[in-house]
């Protein structure tokens, strides 16, 4: 039977099933875990429903000891014991999420949990995208992976941990919101060049890796025929 009222450090009978990512997520168990997470610093609405916010909070809590949190609390497991022990606090997100709403001149082609960055990086990207689509209203900038909220390793990338990197798709002649490679006939050198020029005007830009050698200001690097790897200073 799940406990419904908990005090950190108290003895508990535990949850009856797993809570979180791929968990059983029985309502009473989720409620118990949400209350414990809130005691650790989360700001969850204790409703017994296990959504992304609850899973993110579990992961944030697990980051106290794990670089690869699984986002799940198992009955009698390590995370459960730590939650009941009540000594650890939630590791708060350190980066901000790229706004997922429309209207900023870009679209996302990576999941939202992989689109966090420093405030300065987010601000710079939005500014460049808005400037670009003001000039080319039929085009949208495709933004892919950036960083996780806490800057942990983003598999299978080597970088993308500092909140200052963003992968951006080159542009297509047909304006479709899908992938393109510089050798494809749909690839638009002109649009991509124009976007790079706008990026380079942004004072926060550090470097761009991309393999269209006819565009100034980009550096060639293996595997960059289908995306621009943009690095910001801050």
């Amino acid at each position: 039977m799940a406990i419904t009222s908990l005090t950190p450090g108290s003895t508990s009978t535990g949850v009856t099933g797993s809570v979180g990512h791929k968990g059983l997520n029985k309502k009473s168990d989720v409620l118990t875990v949400q209350k414990l997470l809130n005691q650790a610093g989360a700001e969850l609405k204790p409703d017994g429903s296990c959504g992304p916010a609850t899973i993110n909070a579990i992961e944030g809590y697990q980051r106290n000891w794990s670089k690869h949190p699984d986002g799940r609390v198992d009955p009698g497991g390590h995370t459960w014991k730590k939650l009941v022990e009540g000594k650890l606090k939630l590791k708060k997100d350190s980066y901000v999420m790229l706004p997922q709403a429309c209207g900023y001149g870009y679209y996302s082609y990576s999941s939202m949990d992989r689109q966090f960055g420093t405030s300065a990086t987010i601000h710079s990207l939005i500014q460049v995208c808005m400037d670009f689509t003001a000039k080319y209203p039929d085009l949208q900038v495709g933004i892919g992976d950036m960083s996780f909220a806490d800057g942990r390793h983003m598999s299978p990338h080597k970088t993308h941990t500092n909140g200052r990197n963003a992968d951006i798709r080159p542009f297509r002649t047909d304006g479709k919101m899908t992938h393109v490679t510089i050798t494809d006939k749909e690839y638009s050198h002109e649009y991509t060049k124009a976007f790079v020029e706008m990026l380079r005007k942004n004072s926060n830009l550090k470097s761009i890796l991309f393999n269209d050698t006819k565009i100034s200001g980009v550096s060639q690097h293996e595997g960059h025929d289908n995306h621009l790897h943009v690095s910001m200073k801050e």
Binding site: H68, Q100, Y107, S108, Y109, S110, S111, M112, R114, G144, D145, H153, M154, S155, P156, H157, K158, T159, H160, D167, R169, K176, M177, T178, H179, V180, L209, H221, G223, H224, D225, N226, H227, H229
Partner: protein
Amino acid sequence: MASYLRSAWNAACAILWLLGLAACFAQPAGKDAPARVSAGIEFRCLWWSEAQMEGLNPNAPPPKTTDVQIKKWEYSDPVGVPHPDVVDIVVNLKNNTAQTLSGLEVDVSGQWMTGLMSKRAEATWADPIILKTVHDVSLAPGSTENFRVPVDLRTKMTTLEQVQKWPYTVRAIVKVNAPGSGRAALVIVKAELPITPGD
């Protein structure tokens, strides 16, 4: 005497049958002559179709239902370039003769080249591991047969990443053995799938 002759006759028949079987499976002597049985390897996976990729919502992606061949695993575009968690080694066998070939045994092995993420040049090959053995394969004259052997790339990557390593290549090795106690290799083919992480 009659029984002696019968035994000798049976023995002679058995020897002739074995010689015939050996001739049937033996590789042709000519350098350019086709093998009796040939084998091919492809790496395939399920991925999104081109239509699905356009404007795909990465937070609620549709199921991947399109069977595609991949020549490399590459994480350079989360949607547009296939980088499946599981890749299938697809083995294609063909009987190039006008006779039925039966009793074939097919070994499918996997071999990993792994190394530190920071030192690609120092990656090394591990020993091959048999992933699957298919027994008693029969091929009608001129017919083809294919089967799939899944390879869990995601688990391999996750395991290696914990020690800052990466699986740079997986090699598939297919060995088709003749029937009989000797199990002589009729055909051995290999194929490699380069695996490239993101920057």
